[in-house]
């Protein structure tokens, strides 16, 4: 399967070409080049998936990892510790290839309509290509170091795309925030990698057991540090603060990077190292679970009070990614089978990753259509849009039903598996997650009704009548909606499971029934509160719980806490003295050196008179002195 190399190469070449020659190309040409490259990549990914999954299984029923390339890129000092670059195909990486190339292709097509006529159109497509390349490289990495490299590349392309509208101060601030927060987390990731490499003697995913046994306590530490890196990318509490702000970027970018692909890199990373977690750090895995659970709850609570539709979607993304984290965190074993519910979470997490990528991209792209139509992110500018935008309305509704967990849409199946695993882990966790699933349904339908029903903002709409988006934008919506409708029936467990052995998904109707009832209840509540022209209940509730509403609206003041910690504590008490030290002591020393040299130069300048006779005099004097020394 050597052709998988082109999956990485094509977007990279497209990035180089569009980045270097972009300004001589017309918008259309640049877009077509980028989209065609991605289309080919998508086809190659599908081919790779078909090829890979049709390979014969091993004797124990698992899939064999295939590595068409593994080049020794940077040999370190000893034999074992080498930095390789290559392509590793195994069930999760192949699954990720499909997710990334599909969503990326959809976003490329969608951007034709959304970014039409924007300044820097070619640059936008170049960055999209760069992002696709990095993300694809991340998932097919053969070792943790290559993963880290592409991880950072992903961060850079995210930074570039968030700051795409670089004339807007908010976008610049958001891009810097995203970059700095994720970099901060990546620092832990790097430390974790180094510890891992030190004790393991390799960066690969082959999990050499001898090294780990010697590592003792250090291996769980390394894993937790890597998880912090993943938490930064996947916006887990308290490193989530960058993601809502990242919505300053173009909406298709939010769909691709900040909903479907990049933000699940943390989940993917934990899944990639899952055998290690299970084997050597089962206790630390509960950290993942509880961080995820808290994040899920926090984000869902905040999402209920936001008024900017992209912010709502951003918090819902955080919440859903937290679901995946929880699913991984509650795993207790790796052996797959019907009696082994402890390993179900892995499959559930990957399944949810897959379905979520599709329906969340759909939601974001739908939101993009809406923003395109009304030129605002605020819900107050919307309302009653179902008449104007039927396609967007239907697809958005499908996505909302999917994320709420209503059968037969894909979200129901994956979320149900997660809940089953949580109940198996502890009933407490199960009920928490079920409640959060209910909250999800509530805020999603609050959003839905706020956009498509409710009070129409007549003045605004009279001024500029909302209209359905062009075909290039609706086509991806329809395609993703179709996937959302059918993805739940994919026998996902046959392809991806904790130990890659086939597993039949079967619904636990007790759990499923409960969650359906709760979801329907939450939707009904949202319908009751938000569907009408006026919303007396919502206003009353907001008034009654004014403080709570305010706190949720302000995201529980997390940004302010960060501001306080960074500005008041770190900047004022650590950075400022260091800066002073740097300016005055270190710079002062070098300034003194320069000043001293200068002064000395002025002093001895007289010797360098330029008069040959003086030079000759000194020269002869030297000879005489030497002569005396020789004689005496």
């Amino acid at each position: 399967m050597e052709y998988t190399l082109f999956i990485l190469l094509l977007p990279f070449l497209s990035f180089l070409f569009l980045g270097i020659c972009g300004k001589w190309l017309s918008h259309k040409t640049a877009g077509i080049i980028g989209t065609c490259c991605l289309a080919v990549v998508a086809i190659l990914s599908y081919t790779a998936a078909i090829d890979y999954f049709s390979l014969p299984r091993l004797a124990d029923g698992s899939f064999r990892p295939v590595s068409p390339f593994d080049i020794n890129w940077l040999p370190f000092f000893n034999e074992g510790l080498q930095f390789k670059m290559g392509i590793l195909l195994d069930p999760i990486s192949v699954m990720m290839l499909i997710v990334i190339s599909t969503v990326s292709l959809m976003v490329h097509i969608y951007s034709f309509g959304y970014m039409h006529g924007e300044r820097g159109f070619q640059r936008y497509y170049a960055f999209l290509s760069l992002f696709s390349m990095s993300m694809l490289g991340l998932v097919v990495a053969t070792n943790i170091f290559q993963m880290y490299l592409f991880w950072e590349l992903v961060g850079v392309s995210s930074y570039l795309l968030i700051g795409f509208y670089y004339t807007s101060p908010a976008a610049i601030a958001a891009s810097k925030k995203a970059f700095i927060v994720t970099r901060f987390a990546d620092m832990f990731f790097l430390i974790g990698i180094l510890i891992y490499g030190y004790y393991c003697g390799s960066f690969g995913f082959n999990f050499n057991a001898e090294g780990f046994a010697a590592g003792g306590f250090m291996l769980p530490t390394a894993l937790v540090l890597m998880f912090i890196g993943g938490a930064g990318k996947s916006a887990m509490f308290p490193l989530h603060i960058w993601l809502p702000d990242a919505m300053e970027g173009p909406t298709p970018v939010s769909a691709l990077i900040h909903a479907a692909t990049m933000v699940v890199a943390g989940v993917f990373q934990v899944a990639r190292l899952f055998p290690l977690w299970i084997e050597y750090a089962p206790d630390a895995l509960s950290i993942v679970a509880w961080v995820g659970a808290f994040t899920a709850f926090y984000a869902a609570a905040v999402a209920c009070a936001q008024s900017d539709i992209k912010r709502v979607l951003a918090f819902s993304t955080i919440s859903q990614i937290a679901f995946m984290m929880v699913a991984l965190g509650v795993c207790t074993e790796i052996t797959t089978g019907h009696e082994h519910t402890g390993s179900l979470g892995y499959m559930a997490s990957m399944f949810h990753l897959f379905t979520h990528a599709m329906f969340k991209a759909l939601l974001f792209l739908g939101a993009g259509c809406i923003i395109h139509a009304v030129h605002s992110n605020e819900m107050s500018a919307m309302g009653g849009l179902r008449k104007y935008m039927p396609v967007t309305h239907i697809t958005f509704l499908i996505a909302c039903l999917a994320i709420s967990g209503i059968p037969p849409f894909s979200g129901f199946f994956s979320k149900d598996e997660i809940l089953t695993t949580c109940f198996a882990y502890s009933p407490f966790m199960g009920w928490i997650m079920t409640a959060i699933a209910g909250m999800t349904a509530f805020y999603m339908f609050r959003l839905y009704y706020g956009i498509f029903w409710g009070t129409e903002n007549k003045e605004l709409h009279a001024e500029h009548t909302p209209h359905e988006a062009p075909l290039s934008m609706t086509l991806p919506l329809v395609f993703l909606a179709l996937i959302t409708c059918v993805a739940g029936f994919i026998p996902f467990g046959h392809f991806v499971s904790a130990d890659t052995r086939a597993y039949d998904i079967h619904l636990d109707w007790g759990v499923a029934g409960t969650s359906i009832v709760i979801a329907v209840g939450a939707i009904a509540l949202a319908t009751y509160i938000y569907k009408g022209e006026r919303q007396p209940v919502a206003e009353a509730a907001a008034e009654k719980f004014a403080k709570l509403h305010r706190w949720a609206y302000k995201r529980f003041y997390m940004d302010e806490v960060y501001q306080y910690i960074t500005h008041r504590l770190i900047f004022a008490h650590i950075s400022k003295p260091i800066a002073w030290f740097d300016r005055h002591v270190i710079d002062g020393f070098f300034n003194f050196l320069a000043w001293g040299t200068n002064a000395l130069g002025f002093q001895i300048r007289g010797l360098q008179s330029g008069s040959v006779q003086k030079y000759a005099f000194v020269f002869l004097l030297g000879i005489l002195i030497l002569l005396f020394i020789l004689i005496l």
Binding site: G610, S611, V612, Q613, A616, F617, L620
Partner: protein, 102 residues
């Protein structure tokens, strides 16, 4: 036959006269004259060492010969430069030629 020391003494007088002139004269041409003195004293030394110490050899002889040729070349160039400088600056005094110094 004359003793080697006496001839060396004469060349030494020439050499140190040349050094003195080189160090003290202000006119560039006078400095060049002093250089000729020093070169000449070196030539004498070559010839005299050859003649007195290795009468059958001829290395010093040829060295002196070539040195004369080179001295001629050197002074021709130097004088050309001096004339050019004089044309431009109307002066060839050592301590006045400071135009290209800084």
């Amino acid at each position: 036959m004359i003793q080697i020391e006496y001839i060396l003494l004469i060349s030494a007088v020439m050499m140190f006269a040349g050094i003195f002139g080189f160090l003290t004269r202000r006119s560039t041409l006078a400095v060049l004259l002093s250089i000729e003195l020093m070169l000449n004293s070196a030539d004498i030394n070559f010839a005299v060492f050859n003649r007195m110490l290795y009468p059958d050899g001829h290395e010093g002889y040829f060295f002196a010969l070539f040195a004369i040729a080179i001295a001629a070349a050197e002074s021709a160039i130097a004088i050309a430069i001096m004339i050019n400088i004089y044309r431009m600056l109307k002066n060839i005094s050592v301590d006045k030629l400071q135009k290209m110094k800084w």
